[in-house]
C-alpha cells in the first residue's frame, strides 16, 4: 500500500530535523570534559610562568569557583584565578566554550586598566579569518588575541604572557 502523502511529508520533515539537530551527533558531555581539561591546561601553564614569583610571595593567588551558563552545557562550575600584585588585582575568568567565531573557548585576563583575551584556536591561525578548521587535523592551543582594531593571534609563550600581563597592569 502506498504511503499516505501527509505521512510522507511528515517523515521528510522528521528526517530533516534529525539531520539538523547537532545534539544527535555531538557528545556535549565529552565536549565539556575537554573544555574543562583545556582550562586546567591553561592554568597549569600560567602557574609555570609565575611559579617563582608565587614562591617568593611577590604574587599572591586566590582561587574562586564561579558558575558559567551555556546553552549546550547548562550551568557548570569553573575556577577563576585572581592574582594580587601589590595593590593591583588581576582576574583570569573563563568566558565560555561556545563563543561566536572560530575558537573553542576563551579566558579573559582583566584589571582596572584593560583586558587581554586568551583564545583556544588552531595553532596556525594568526588572525580572524573565514577558514573552517573543524574537520581538519589542526592542533588547537591557547593563543593571545591582540586588541582591536588589528587583531592578531599570538603564540602563548612566557614572553607573550608577561607582555600581556604588563599591558593590563601598566598600560
Amino acid at each position: 500500500m502506498a504511503i499516505k502523502q501527509y505521512l510522507k511529508q511528515f517523515e521528510e520533515f522528521l528526517e530533516q530535523e534529525v539531520k539538523q539537530d547537532d545534539s544527535s551527533v555531538i557528545d556535549y558531555e565529552q565536549e565539556k570534559k575537554e573544555w574543562l581539561a583545556r582550562i586546567d591546561e591553561f592554568y597549569a601553564l600560567i602557574q609555570k610562568f609565575i611559579g617563582d614569583y608565587l614562591k617568593q610571595g611577590k604574587i599572591i593567588q586566590e582561587w574562586k569557583i564561579i558558575q558559567l551558563q551555556e546553552d549546550y552545557f547548562g550551568e557548570y562550575e569553573v575556577q577563576q584565578l585572581m592574582l594580587k600584585i601589590g595593590k593591583k588585582r588581576l582576574i583570569f575568568k573563563p568566558i565560555g566554550r561556545f563563543l561566536i567565531g572560530f575558537n573553542r573557548g576563551r579566558i579573559d585576563l582583566s584589571s582596572d586598566i584593560g583586558t587581554v583575551r586568551f583564545v583556544l584556536l588552531p595553532e596556525e591561525l594568526e588572525s580572524p579569518q573565514v577558514i573552517d578548521f573543524n574537520n581538519s587535523n589542526a592542533k588547537w592551543c591557547w593563543k593571545i588575541a591582540t586588541s582591536p582594531p588589528k587583531v592578531s593571534y599570538l603564540e602563548l609563550t612566557e614572553q607573550s604572557f608577561f607582555e600581556a600581563l604588563i599591558e593590563v597592569v601598566n598600560a
Partner: protein
C-alpha cells in the same frame, strides 16, 4: 526598475566602533574610581563590592550596545555590497543572482533570506561562517526587541567575539569584490 538607494555615508566602520567602545570603557572605569571628582558624592554609602557591581553592570550594557552597533555595521556592509553588485552590473555569479532578487525586491531584499542565502549558495566554502553571521543577527534581533525573552542561541556573544567575526567578514567582502 527599483528606485536606487542614496547612500548616506553615515554608516560606522569597525574602527569607529572600537574607538567608541574603548573611550566609553575608559570613561566609565575612571568615573567609578577614586580618581573621579564626583566619587564621594556619587558613591556615598556604597561599599567597594557595590561599586564594582555597578561598574560591571554599566560595562555589560556597554558591551551589548557596542555589539548591536557592530552587527548593524556588518548589515550595512552586506547591504551596500548587494546594492553595488546590482547597480554596477557586475558579471560574476553572485552579482547576477543578486540582480535577479533586486528586480523583484529592490533594496528591500531580506538580509538573512535573500542576501546571505545567496552568499551561501554561491560560496559554499564559506557556508559555515555565513551561518554564524545569521545566528549573530538573531542575537541582534533579541537586543533590538527589548531582550524580554530568554534567547536560545547556542553561542556566547560579546564585543570582542563579534568584532573578530565582523573583521573577518569585512575582509571576505573586500577580497571578493
Amino acid at each position: 526598475m527599483p528606485k536606487r538607494v542614496s547612500l548616506s555615508g553615515q554608516n560606522l566602520c569597525l574602527s569607529d566602533i572600537k574607538d567608541y567602545y574603548d573611550d566609553s570603557k575608559s570613561a566609565l572605569t575612571l568615573y567609578f574610581s577614586l580618581h573621579s571628582v564626583d566619587y564621594n558624592d556619587r558613591f556615598v554609602d556604597y561599599n567597594i563590592n557595590e561599586i564594582e557591581q555597578e561598574l560591571q553592570a554599566r560595562l555589560d550594557e556597554l558591551d551589548r550596545l557596542t555589539s548591536f552597533s557592530i552587527l548593524s555595521s556588518l548589515e550595512a556592509s552586506f547591504r551596500m555590497n548587494y546594492l553595488i553588485r546590482c547597480n554596477q552590473k557586475k558579471k560574476d555569479t553572485l552579482s547576477r543572482k543578486m540582480r535577479e532578487v533586486y528586480q523583484v525586491k529592490g533594496s528591500r531584499a531580506s538580509l538573512e533570506d535573500d542576501i546571505l542565502m545567496l552568499w551561501k549558495e554561491v560560496y559554499p566554502e564559506y557556508k559555515i561562517f555565513i551561518s554564524e553571521v545569521i545566528t549573530a543577527f538573531k542575537y541582534r534581533h533579541w537586543l533590538a526587541h527589548g531582550r524580554y525573552w530568554e534567547p536560545k542561541l547556542g553561542r556566547i556573544y560579546d564585543y570582542y567575539s563579534l568584532y573578530d567575526l565582523a573583521y573577518s567578514m569585512e575582509h571576505l567582502l573586500t577580497s571578493l569584490n
